[in-house]
Amino acid sequence: MSTQIISVLVEDEAGSLTRMSGMFSRRGINIHSLTVSPSEKEGMSRMTIVTTGDEREIEKVEKQLNKLIEVVKVNILDKNTSVVRDLCLLKVYADKENRAEVIEIANAFKSNIVDISIRTITLEITADPLDIDRFVETMKNFGIKELFRTGVTAISRDVEKKSGG
């Protein structure tokens, strides 16, 4: 069982999100995260789904997705050749005692400070989901008040063809 990222190009029809997620629940497949966004093609959206399964299970998911009328293209993204990102907004407790320490760690993780109050700091980080996991773990030491993550979005890298010679 390994985590898989599936990128799906779908026609922008009412109900296409329900149809997609319905297929997963009907076939008993868990969705870890699901993001929907506009794509470069007019009238089409891109959905990025993170799920777990072995090769055979993912092949089944791919075929079932392809069967849906609104689904135009399904890509199973290879993690080694894709850029994978997750966005996290995190409100952590920080008063004058430890504010400096929180900021120092936030900087180390290349996260941005987006808001500060007397008792809290709100941080924003866009990174590989595993890096965000580590960031969140570290911040737990200060006490997390609120946590929001968008879920994964991903894009495959273009492999440059070697020019002749």
């Binding site: 009412a14 109900g15 089409m44 092949e59 089944k60 075929k63 069967k67 009328i69 135009v72």
Partner: protein, 572 residues
């Protein structure tokens, strides 16, 4: 706006372009506009059922008998929800059905209006596809798209939800020509490279076996299947849905496989060296349990129009996506090229023929005095009906007795609910089949439990003059579940003994239909003749023993070749 066509005019125009001649439906408040449009329509016959489930099943039976999409309609809310079972039944068996459901006006959607149901949401997981039409401008495009989706690729049910205002508004938009979907292009042309490999395996086989599913019938490929089998000397076993894919009196026919299949056919699955599976989805009723023990030593070839079925239930050596018609036609072409390497299959061919006659013999029913048994009833029906007759079944013992003892000689003449196993399917499906094929004798082999679920359709058959015959195998039990309780649940007949059984003869007569009770084997033929001669819908009440079993069967958890109750089988 007074220009263009009214929504309902667009519906009727599209239906005519799709060559729809019959609609099965039941009206309601939100469906009045469409019914009104059909009121003076002479080219489309609107058949009023007595429960919407009957409309869906009748459309399904119509499609199975004719090969054309069946069309049904129901009003919003309860009308639409009553269609559900029938729509899933069609989708599970890949039958093209288009359903129109009325909806509350677009402005009222989401307000929990009277008779409002989220039909779009409810029918999403039980159909091949569905639409909620929000504007009359997109109506013609939607209807044409719906027919395309229902009737191409792997077929299935499609729902078009029609709000009241969409039916009544006018629009100048009318889509001409084919509807295209960016994400729907069912690839039906089989890959020639894979075909070549498969052809080679087939000619190299010493013990080839074909397992034909409903896909062969849906693709109208039965004639070519027979040619292929004869050329290869391959035995042909079928699934329940594949019954009729090869004439069952053909010497290469082995009958049905699976949980209630023939022992011989099941054993052959595990004896063959190359298994060619076409238009079959390896349902659990076909494979038995223990999937790794299904044809363990055979090279497995699986051809299906739906790529998601390949390697889904049973991993195979050679998967191939394609329409069964093209697959079989091309296989014959390729195989002929390998003439020189073709193995001698004479010994195997003889063995298949021998097994065929052995099974025929084992299933020969000799009258046992005047005793009325399901076997003798179905055998008599078999001899009585002509070669163009259509038999439908309900679900349960009646269905399995029919599958065993009714010899189907042509495709589209054995109509049964396979995937969903819907009790109450057979009678309305028979009505649909009779509408599609008015010249054919149509008979529903029913159980008392199943028939009671849909007996109100006697009114439909009477008022619309649809003379089908219902043969009720009346054992006062829900027979199949009782059989399971007898064999696997210590004879605890929980919920299966039907206390009050109506007098089916009087029931029929109360609708003005013909009814007759049969208690002796010698009276079966006469009763059948009376029923068909009556010229009206008829119910024959066959009083059979309350506790009979349909055997052999694979017990729960058993492998495909581990059957119980094989007493009558000589092939062991």
């Amino acid at each position: 706006m007074n220009e263009g066509l009214k929504g309902t005019e667009i519906v009727v125009k599209c239906l005519k372009e799709e060559k729809v001649k019959h609609l099965f439906g039941f009206p309601g408040g939100q469906l009045i506009p469409l019914y009104d449009q059909l009121y003076e329509e002479t080219d489309i016959r609107s058949i009023l059922v007595r429960h919407e489930q009957g409309a869906a099943h009748a459309a399904d039976g119509y499609a199975r008998a004719s090969g054309d999409p069946g069309v049904c309609m129901a009003t919003s809310g309860p009308g639409a929800t009553n269609l559900i079972t029938g729509l899933l039944n069609a989708t599970m068996d890949s039958i093209p059905v288009v359903a129109f459901t009325a909806q509350v006006p677009t402005k009222a959607i989401g307000t929990d209006a009277f008779q409002e149901a989220d039909t779009f949401g409810i029918t999403m997981p039980i159909t091949k596809h569905n639409f909620l039409v929000k504007s009359t401008d997109t109506l013609s495009w939607t209807i044409k798209g719906a027919f395309k989706i229902a009737n191409t690729g792997r077929k299935g049910a499609v729902v078009i939800d029609l709000p009241n205002d969409v039916q009544q508004k006018r629009s100048k938009e009318y889509h001409h020509g084919e509807v295209k979907f960016a994400g729907y292009n069912p690839s039906i042309v089989p890959n020639p490279l894979q075909l070549k490999r498969i052809a080679q395996k087939l000619v190299e086989a010493e013990r080839p076996l074909i397992l034909a599913g409903g896909g062969v019938i849906l693709a109208n490929a039965t004639e070519d299947l027979r040619i292929l089998a004869e050329y290869l000397g391959a035995g042909v076993a079928t699934t329940l849905m594949g019954k009729g894919a090869i004439p069952e009196n053909h010497p290469l026919s082995l009958g049905m496989v699976g949980m209630h299949g023939r022992l011989g056919a099941n054993k052959m699955i595990n004896n063959c060296d190359v298994l060619l599976v076409i238009g079959c989805r390896f349902s659990d009723r076909t494979t038995g349990w223990g999937l790794e023990s299904f044809a363990p030593d055979a090279i497995k070839i699986h051809c299906d129009i739906d790529s998601s079925e390949l390697n889904k239930n049973i991993p195979v050596d050679f998967p191939l996506v394609g329409d069964a018609n093209l697959v079989i036609r091309d296989l014959i072409k390729f195989i002929k090229k390998y003439e020189d390497v073709k193995k001698d299959t004479n010994i195997w061919r003889k063995r298949v023929n021998q097994l065929h006659s052995m099974c025929e013999e084992c299933e020969t029913v000799k009258p046992n005095g005047s005793k009325l048994t399901p076997e003798i009833i179905i055998k008599t029906i078999n001899n009585f009906l002509d070669d163009n007759a259509i038999v439908t079944t309900e679900v349960g013992q009646n269905q399995m007795f029919a599958a065993h003892y009714y010899i189907t000689k042509k495709p589209r003449q054995f109509i049964s609910s396979g995937g969903l196993g819907t009790m109450g399917f057979g009678f309305p499906a028979a009505i649909g089949a009779k509408v599609a094929k008015p010249e054919s004798q149509v008979l529903d082999i029913a159980g008392d439990g199943s028939f009671l679920m849909v007996c109100q359709e006697l009114a439909t058959a009477m008022s619309e003059d649809i003379p089908v015959v219902v043969a009720v195998l009346n054992n006062s039990f829900l027979g199949m579940v009782r059989q399971w309780q007898e064999l696997f649940w210590d004879k605890r007949y929980a919920g299966t003994k039907l206390g009050t059984i109506p007098d089916f003869v009087k029931l029929a007569e109360s609708f003005g239909a013909y009814g007759e009770r049969v208690e002796k084997a010698s009276d079966i033929e006469k009763a059948l003749k009376n029923a068909f001669d009556s010229g009206i819908v008829s119910v024959l009440d066959f009083k059979i023993e309350s506790e009979t079993n349909i055997l052999p069967m694979i017990p729960p958890g058993g492998r495909v070749d581990e059957m119980i109750g094989v007493g009558r089988c000589r092939h062991k």
